[in-house]
């Protein structure tokens, strides 16, 4: 594909835009197809689908992806029949269109140099074609679209042509000017003009917007008559042209007068009726996410600098008049407000609505429910809730698995549902909302719910718990997130393979979130995912350990208590636990946690603080010297200039300019231990 005279990188960028456009277009087509119910020809929806296919075809042709253009052309032709009501919408028709979308998706992905299933594409294309044949009156529907070029006859060599060009009065109204044509002819060869003023009216009657002149043109060029007439293609209905070859025995002057071309198809004003509704292109631009990250970094530094300024002034107070101090305070507080607003505004740029991933699921549910012979409806709410782009990207797969799980294990077959007194069609509800500084996404179904007994049994079987261990219902249900757990008797093709709930949980925890399940037997289950709004900052609790300051993410802190020596216990193997309201929590001396040279373990925990944190569903107590203040910290990655260190989430710069490490609470509890009470060292 030629680069149109542009640099490779410029063309690549444009191709990428096209690729993204195709992706969006295919999503629109798919959404439209799913929305069409049998027999319901909603014109707006059909038009959206048609326009989507048409756009992709046009772009593909322009950028040289002929296979996509050809495929889409067939699709578009068939869609046109639907649009003109010559073909009614029916489930098998929708199915073949959905298959076409799949083929196109594969072809679009292959634009980057991969490959796609050609056999499948040919089959679907043939399917589309056979549908077309069923439509009465379809003759040349699959003919190649007309291009502007007409067949050329080989050039006879340099010839001399006489061209008489006589424009109509209204010639100029189409924006054409004779000069355009003269220039065009001049490119073919040598041109000499002779203007004819004979039709020029008297001054009084002269109207400047009308054309009164005609021309006799002599052209010496190595061209055919067709090539000359081509140049008049645009204006053929606006003028009279006579082209004769000089020095050639005349058979007779050839007129090319435009015949009245009446369209054979009745061009109704259908198009006028079909106004496109819905989302319109709202003036946006695509920005490289790296640029946004640079911006975010700078703003992050501003926040740090501003808090350093705050700290400095508060330490150096008292050295100036009270009035100046008050003014300074005012300015600083204004600065702080502005900085925070700027930070929020910039973080907002990275926010995208969850609909961008929620949009995938209707199709999944449609496909999967057919496959499983179940009737399932997917309800979506809160799709405009916004999340940070990176968090959004990483939540897609876990959500996918949860929905598959609901489809596979949650919702019962129609027969079972009816027997249980439920509606035949099961409902999966996917929702998102902002709740208290986090985003909560819920996947709930009205299916059979978790079988607590079965889970308990399996867990004992797999050695995940001891058979005498007593767990609450909630704790038992939570076992589904343990590694190696699957209650499926038969590993179904759908959700059993590879990915397990433990991966879902760890993926969610990787982005700083939490996932829990609540269930009612016979009624259904709800998986609740709590996510941080952003990955760049977090609310932290500063703590002091010896002479170092660390930050613990506030989200992970359950509570903090002053150590009560009576509640400490040492159990087998030097492990220390703390008894808190009936629960026994293992505790770690933070001095030992990161075993930094020169810092010794505590001899006594007296007067120390205990920070109880949640790691997965486990609670752990961290022994620290003191609790300092809480505030928002900007997370600086260690990977920028160093490497990722397990156990460390990142670093942050405190108000006094020093660097503080942020504790990665999720890695504190090992999930690979087999025996209770034993420590597993890495």
């Amino acid at each position: 594909m030629p680069n149109n005279g542009m640099s490779d990188s410029a063309m690549d960028e444009i191709r990428q835009i096209f690729e993204a456009e195709c992706g969006d277009g295919l999503n629109v087509i798919e959404a439209g197809l799913l929305a069409l119910k049998s027999g319901d020809n909603n014109l707006d929806t059909i038009n959206d689908i048609f326009r989507g296919a048409h756009s992709i075809k046009g772009g593909a042709a322009t950028f040289g992806y002929t296979d996509i253009a050809e495929f889409t052309h067939v699709m578009e032709t068939l869609l046109d029949k639907v649009r003109s009501a010559e073909l009614t919408v029916s489930p098998p028709l929708v199915k073949v269109f959905l298959e076409s979308v799949d083929c196109l998706r594969a072809m679009v992905e292959a634009m980057n140099g991969g490959s796609y299933d050609k056999a499948k594409t040919e089959r679907v294309k043939a399917d589309l074609a056979s549908w077309l044949e069923k439509v009465p009156g379809t003759d040349s529907a699959l003919n190649r679209q007309e291009t502007g070029a007409e067949p050329r006859i080989s050039s006879p060599g340099l010839s001399c042509w006489d061209i008489h060009f006589s424009p109509k009065r209204s010639f100029l109204l189409t924006g054409n000017q004779p000069q355009h044509i003269f220039r065009a002819l001049a490119e073919l060869g040598e041109v000499s003009l002779q203007a004819n003023y004979s039709n020029f009216p008297q001054f009084r009657k002269y109207r400047p917007e009308e054309m009164y002149l005609s021309w006799d043109i002599e052209l010496k060029a190595d061209v055919t008559r067709e090539q000359i007439l081509d140049e008049f293609d645009w204006v053929e209905s606006e003028c009279i042209i006579q082209v004769t070859e000089k020095n050639v025995p005349q058979i007779g002057p050839h007129d090319r007068r435009v015949a009245d071309r009446r369209s054979e198809v009745d061009e109704s004003d259908r198009r006028k009726q079909h106004r496109r509704t819905g989302k319109k292109d709202s003036g946006s631009i695509r920005v490289d996410i790296d640029k946004i990250d640079v911006l975010l970094n700078l703003v992050g530094e501003m926040v740090i600098n501003q808090s350093m300024l705050n700290q400095f002034t508060s330490h150096n107070r008292g050295e100036g008049s009270a009035g100046a101090s008050a003014e300074l305070d005012q300015s600083l507080s204004l600065l702080e407000r502005t900085t925070r607003e700027l930070q929020e505004a910039v973080m907002n740029i990275r926010m995208l609505p969850v609909s961008t991933i929620f949009n995938r699921y209707p199709r999944l549910v449609y496909d999967l429910s057919s496959k499983l012979d179940k009737k399932v409806a997917l309800k979506i709410s809160g799709e405009n809730t916004e999340l940070d782009k990176t968090v959004l990207e990483k939540i897609g797969d876990p959500l996918l698995h949860l929905i598959r799980n609901s489809l596979d294990h949650g919702i019962e077959s129609p027969g079972e549902r009816l027997a249980a007194g439920k509606e035949e069609t099961g409902i999966i509800h996917l929702s998102a909302s902002h709740e208290g500084g986090s985003v909560v996404i819920r996947v709930s179904d009205d299916g059979a719910g978790l079988n607590t007994e079965k889970i308990h049994r399996k867990a004992i079987e797999k050695g995940l718990i001891a058979d005498d261990e007593i767990l609450s219902e909630q704790q038992t249900n939570d076992l589904v997130f343990r590694a190696g757990f699957s209650t499926a008797d038969v590993v179904t093709d759908v959700s059993g393979r590879g990915v397990g709930m433990d991966v879902v949980r760890s993926n969610i925890e990787d982005i700083g979130g939490r996932v829990e399940v609540r269930s009612e037997p016979g009624k259904g289950s709800t998986f609740q995912i709590t996510l941080p709004l952003t990955l760049a900052i977090l609310d932290g609790q500063l703590i002091r350990v010896a002479s170092e300051v660390y930050v613990i993410p506030l989200l992970s802190i359950v509570e903090t208590v002053q150590v009560d020596m009576d509640k400490l216990n040492i159990i087998s193997g030097n492990e220390i636990v703390y008894r808190l309201r009936g629960e026994v929590i293992p505790i770690i001396d933070m001095r030992v946690l990161y075993s930094i040279s020169g810092v010794e373990a505590l001899h006594s925990y007296e007067n120390k603080q205990l920070v109880i944190v949640e790691s997965g569903r486990k609670s752990i107590g961290l022994v620290v010297d003191a609790l300092l203040d809480q505030h928002q910290v900007v997370i600086k990655s260690l990977e920028t200039n160093f490497v990722k260190i397990p156990g460390i989430l990142g670093a942050t710069i405190l108000g006094d300019g020093t660097v503080s490490l942020i504790v990665d609470v999720t890695t504190l509890a090992s999930s690979t231990s087999n025996e209770r009470g034993n420590r597993v060292e890495h």
Binding site: T62, F63, G148, R183, E187
Partner: protein
């Protein structure tokens, strides 16, 4: 420098056309549908308008008619850029007042040629 207005709902086509035209020395403005195109044309007097046909809000044909209704654009060259071009389409374009048409896929060199003739 000649000013060209491009109206097309496809971002990639707009990007491609802008690139090609700017490289050839034209000043390019783009709009993403007929309505936006009409608004732009009202604000600035362009030397040439190139518009797609199938667009939301206002299609190319209607844009064409509206433009021709503006005194400023009665005699300006307005080209239609579109995929298939049947005779009926050509006629419809003509009836609406199109100066000419360009078919996708287009040869950029040819495109520049044609435009250069018009915007000499």
């Amino acid at each position: 420098m000649s000013q060209v207005l491009i109206v097309d709902d496809s971002h990639s086509i707009r990007a491609l056309l802008s690139s090609v035209l700017e490289k050839a020395g034209f000043e390019v403005t783009s709009a993403n549908d007929g309505k936006a195109g009409l608004k732009a044309a009202r604000t600035t007097s362009y030397d040439l308008v190139i518009t797609d046909v199938n667009m939301p809000e206002m299609d190319g044909i209607e844009l064409l008619r509206n433009l021709r209704g503006l005194p400023e654009y009665s005699f300006k060259p307005i080209l239609i850029l579109t995929t298939e071009f049947s005779q009926e389409m050509k006629q419809k374009g003509k009836d609406a007042g199109a100066t000419g048409w360009l078919v996708k896929p287009f040869d950029p060199e040819k495109l520049i040629n044609v435009i250069s003739r018009i915007l000499h």
